[in-house]
Symmetry: C2
Subunit: 242 residues, 2 copies
DNA sequence: TTTGGGCAAATCGTATGCAATCTTGCCATT
DNA sequence: AATGGCAAGATTGCATACGATTTGCCCAAA
């Protein structure tokens, strides 16, 4: 029940951009832990525990948890506490439906703004992805998932729309949760090649093709999930609790 | 079922809304005030003021302000306080770009799920819009803007994707801020007829046309804005402060 | 053995106090 | 008269205290 070892306390930028946003740093840290599955869905995140872990008062910890709740990564129950979200199959479908809608638009914007330097950066990122794919072990798996999501986030960043970027931030994070819950093969191993295909199309300036490839990519990710409704009642949460 | 109940994003679960999430209620109240321009961009919202206004402690007021900051309706400055957002022209463009991306997708979903009852509800909503249009005075203007936004939110609610619904909630709210800042004619008077056109296409099941009409509608709203960069320096905020 | 009630522990919700930081107005100095 | 600095006031950032609510356990009674 000790979550301390699951959280990397050092992955917050040293001397946070604002000394005040300690809650931001905590949010970031917890977010990372959730995204690469060090914190499993259902895990309880009590205010006092989080607070003492990061050596702050409950006030600050609470603010961080509220932010995470706002972006759907944790769910809070009144007088009970905060828990890492346990998205339902329906939620999962909606997440991917949203991505199918937004990501082609991001591609369309990105293709007009992407620079050769960006392309090079993307290649580096894909290399890293590849490296993790070849490694074994859960740590490499986690890194692979993270890197895979980062590809989409980099794309959003190149598109230059901070609002869509934020939406994608949320969608990618929640996707990661969904994959953790319903993923069959852990990671769709075809993901990497599909990323490179998208990037190739982008480099050639073929936005149509890139968008189409992206849609297929999202389809594949979702197809790898097992979204059967093995939970018809309200006690589902209890069953899938860790 | 009744659409007007679906609009409310905050009543995610009955028990969430009921007992005492007072900060939620405050957020809602402030949100409405901002959306229909009773609170102008730049207005300062101090914790103590908000707190005493709603008869709660600063803690609760602060939580409400944090939520509003998260959805971009207020901006907080360290050790200075929270202010109603003052979106830049660039932000405005990004908001509308996002809407152009998302709303056609919402139409596509809505057209598969909309019921005759929904259509009737939409008609009622449009009638109300019309009524406000014919009235004079700032109060009617505010109500008109609100009603106009509600049309888009109802659409998102019919689409049945709570994630997109939340995104739209944020986008519509921020659009209202932008219109307040940069609107030329206050409200594009053609908005109402465009809404009815979209609804007509939806009723006929012509999703293509409805989506196209929606894009044009958004284009018109944005075209009515004056997004010149009349603010090259940092003192812009001071000038546009109230 | 099972069920029901009640008590204790844990945790959250909220208020409030204190320290730090920023703003503002005033005064001295040039 | 203008500028620079200083001190008082105001406001936020954070920690902590206390009350409220839920949960789990234990024990008694059927």
């Amino acid at each position: 029940m000790n979550i301390s070892e699951k959280i990397n306390l050092t992955d917050t930028t040293p001397e946070d951009r604002s000394p005040e946003d300690r809650s931001m740093a905590i949010r970031e840290s917890l977010r990372n832990a959730i995204i690469d599955r060090r914190l499993a869905p259902g895990t309880k995140l009590s205010e006092s525990e989080v607070g003492s872990l990061f050596d702050v008062s409950r006030t600050v910890a609470r603010a961080a948890l509220q932010m995470l709740a706002f972006e759907g990564l944790v769910k809070t129950e009144r007088n009970r506490g905060a828990f890492v979200s346990n998205p339902s199959p329906e939620e999962a479908r909606q997440i991917f439906a949203s991505r199918r809608l937004i990501e082609p638009g991001i591609i369309a914007s990105a293709i007009e703004r992407i620079t050769p330097e960006d392309i090079a950066e993307f290649r580096r990122q894909l290399d890293e992805e590849q490296r993790y794919m070849n490694e074994r072990g859960p740590a490499a798996r986690r890194a692979e998932i993270k890197a895979s999501g980062d590809f989409h986030l980099m794309l959003a960043s190149v598109a230059g729309n901070v609002i869509l970027q934020r939406f994608m931030d949320e969608l990618v994070a929640r996707s990661s949760l969904v994959i953790a819950l319903y993923g069959r093969s852990g990671v769709s191993s075809c993901g990497h090649s599909e990323h490179t295909a998208v990037l190739d199309a982008l480099e050639k300036g073929d936005g149509e093709r890139a968008a189409k490839l992206m849609i297929h990519h999202i389809d594949h990710i979702e197809a790898d999930l097992d979204l059967q409704v093995k939970q018809g009642l309200g006690l589902k949460d209890a069953l899938s609790l860790v």
